[in-house]
Symmetry: C2
Subunit: 150 residues, 2 copies
Amino acid sequence: MIHNTQKLLNKFHNMGFRVTKPRQAIWKVLSNTIGHLSAEEIYLKVYKKYPKIGLTTVYRNLEIMEKMGLVKKYYFGDGRHRYELLQNPLKPNYHHHLVCTGCRRVIDFDDFDNEEINLLKKVEKVLSQKHNFEIAGHLIQFYGFCKSCN
Amino acid sequence: MIHNTQKLLNKFHNMGFRVTKPRQAIWKVLSNTIGHLSAEEIYLKVYKKYPKIGLTTVYRNLEIMEKMGLVKKYYFGDGRHRYELLQNPLKPNYHHHLVCTGCRRVIDFDDFDNEEINLLKKVEKVLSQKHNFEIAGHLIQFYGFCKSCN
DNA sequence: ATAATAATGATAATCATTTTCATTTAGAAT
DNA sequence: ATTCTAAATGAAAATGATTATCATTATTAT
């Protein structure tokens, strides 16, 4: 935790950003959460410890953290975006999402083995050559119905 | 084209929906378009032939067509959804998307060979068993920069 | 401690999508 | 063909997530 926070401080300093209370509070919430929080959910969690926080500030800093490569922004099909730390001590680094179309629950999974990851790389290479694209990343989601919604 | 429209009429009839002018006009636009249109873009195209059309009607019918399995709804990261016919005579049936983060252009690709499709199926099986999910579909997108944005 | 300015937060604005509701229309029954 | 009725439409208002504005506050280099 401490270690993580320190890393954040450094990152921010290095990029010329100030290390403010709201930023630290938002960071803390993100790194203590496994789930995929919306901006408002993050706001509410931060609010408990730091009631001065404003929703605008949450949005602003999520965007900054996304640009810094600390946070990844997802969209799972309900009307709002979800955010999660790119490197979260609580979950595997490389993972994808399984979204229940019924209850909107999202499950992380990292069941891709080497074979699959290699294949992905192969596809990326083909794509980048054939379509003259510099591939920066990919998004893989599976949709379906979870046990209780089925 | 005729053939396609006839199919639509039948589908709608079978499900107890009426075959209205707006519906036919929207369908026509979708089946004559390769790209990935937003609701407003569809509205504007329909408007040219049928100026009585309202944006609300476009939204409503896209939703219906999505539920009927005729249309697929995508989100590529700008603020609006995009729609395309599930079976479009103008493009390959099974395909994914390559999104340019610079200019937001979207390219279809179907460079998955059998090997990759089988692998996907394998992953789906693993996931459905391990996480007790009934998998209904998947979303695969690659992000990057196209030639001109690079 | 102070000054310079980046960051914040309250509020208003924006913009895609939905809801409401009075009017129109498809299509079944006559 | 005309009539009838529920389904569909479209205009306008409402919603809800996100963004812009701007006066105030707080961080940090000095």
